[in-house]
Symmetry: C2
Subunit: 337 residues, 2 copies
Amino acid sequence: SVDTTPITATLFPGDGIGPEIADSVKQVFRAADVPIEWEEHYVGTEVDPRTQSFLTWESLESVRRNRVGLKGPMATPIGKGHRSLNLTLRKELNLYANVRPCYSLPGYKTRYDNVDLITIRENTEGEYSGLEHQVVRGVVESLKIITRHASLRVAEYAFHYAKAHGRERVSAIHKANIMQKTDGLFLKCCREVAGKYPEIKYEEVVIDNCCMMLVKNPALFDVLVMPNLYGDIISDLCAGLIGGLGLTPSCNIGEGGIALAEAVHGSAPDIAGKNLANPTALMLSAITMLRHLELHGKADRIQNAILNTIAEGKYRTADLGGTSTTTDFTEAIIDHL
Amino acid sequence: SVDTTPITATLFPGDGIGPEIADSVKQVFRAADVPIEWEEHYVGTEVDPRTQSFLTWESLESVRRNRVGLKGPMATPIGKGHRSLNLTLRKELNLYANVRPCYSLPGYKTRYDNVDLITIRENTEGEYSGLEHQVVRGVVESLKIITRHASLRVAEYAFHYAKAHGRERVSAIHKANIMQKTDGLFLKCCREVAGKYPEIKYEEVVIDNCCMMLVKNPALFDVLVMPNLYGDIISDLCAGLIGGLGLTPSCNIGEGGIALAEAVHGSAPDIAGKNLANPTALMLSAITMLRHLELHGKADRIQNAILNTIAEGKYRTADLGGTSTTTDFTEAIIDHL
Ligand SMILES: CC(C)[C@H](C(=O)O)[C@@H](O)C(=O)O
Ligand SMILES: CC(C)[C@H](C(=O)O)[C@@H](O)C(=O)O
């Protein structure tokens, strides 16, 4: 079967709790006989004093070669002139779409039931251009850049995703009533792509109204596609609906079929090395990587084991109100496989 | 007592359901002996064919002279080159701070209890500069402008408000990790002002994290101050927590002590003239105007009557799941005075 072809995937465990939760993923994948060989590279701020490299050339090459990878949390290097490593990776690997599935975990109660949302965020431009100037003393400006190229690309990905995953509707989120040119261009591109997918419903929703409706009734939405900053905001809002960033997977899609899955929570230096971290977000992210590779059998099996472990409620880490160690929780998942 | 000095206030009933809900406010104010004389002007899209004016000079002068006013919803004129009337009013009257108190209405159940948030939004610049260009075909940019002047002004207002209303904490919401210059300047100004209010706690929260935390636990926040677009987004999110824009008041503060209260919901043309509209947001907005005038006795009396009517649940308009007319609901409030 397809599921047994060996595949090499890059692994960046990252900083803080990164190595521990990456270890959990490796154990669970091994136990589930996932045909993946990890090619591990260190990217992060706990740097080798000889090279002083936060991000080696070899790490980037590894993702470019393998086309699939998984990354843990990375702290931002301290000191002037350092960019966040997340942003550097997005830029260097041209990771143009950030996909965050967000669904209620059975048995883990929040104020919302049956959340099932996919946010697809343009990941390369918009408010993240880095172009800022002081016009005169006391007057500064930031440039938001929207291009037809990047907007079409992420819109294509969103509709392709919606179709491939049997989703009904794509909502483009914008503020084109104010930013008529930039968000206007984004919408124009979404409309063009929507025209090629008559089987998928398409709508446009202003960001302020979208946030209000998400909070009132998340079931109104399905797949959401939007410019960079709105994606940053709305994907975190959606994560909040189901319990937070410790539970939500994320996958970055790049040109040439690259998929770099990542846990979007922080590196939690306060609990690092204490066997207390919750590996759920990284594991669910690893599953989005499996789905990208069309290893749906393995993906389903592991996902069910994770969801069942959380639903059972016997083994939960401290962030979910439990007292389990990372090891206990990981072993419980393996038992559920 | 202070409560009996007659005061002239401007009233813009607005479009659609505007006149009906403005009528409710007038009735309730009359019943409560509020010492206000309304100076009514029409601003909106249902224009006088002779003047073709959406916004007369006299209307602006009325607010400038009276310093206090109340506005209903206004539709945006259709056709190229028309700005939203809301934006024009903000600009012409230099309405630099938009204040939206957002609290749970007793007896009106949502997923959240005991919400009590104040969002204070910079209302004149940021992403709303209107400066946009096409750089080359397929590449457009919008300028976000942040000034020291406007940032200090809104920060001053936020801390002043927090102190005057006995609030504990001000959170500045930003994305300075990405927009270091613009949001960085905004934060710098907030910090400067915070230094003058040692009795008020001050913190800085990144917008994505803020949205996640608001959805998980709104009690973490108190007064929030932020640049224009973040204020647009977060104030709607907060409104969603307690039931939507039909229930949340808003007041715009301008230079020279101007206060223009407004209902931020739409003009609902589909139900206009049918005696079905919910006047709550406009009434609660009118109350923020009374508080601005330090008519706290009248403000408390009317606010309690509104809250008690909603809590009792016997008279509710359709948007709150009831079957009452605007008239029934208004009379019920008057009975509760
Ligand atoms: C850490 C920060 C730069 C980053 C972003 O703003 O994109 C984060 O919030 C995210 O969503 O990955
Ligand atoms: C109608 C629109 C221009 C306006 C805004 O974006 O400010 C509205 O959303 C508001 O919050 O008053």
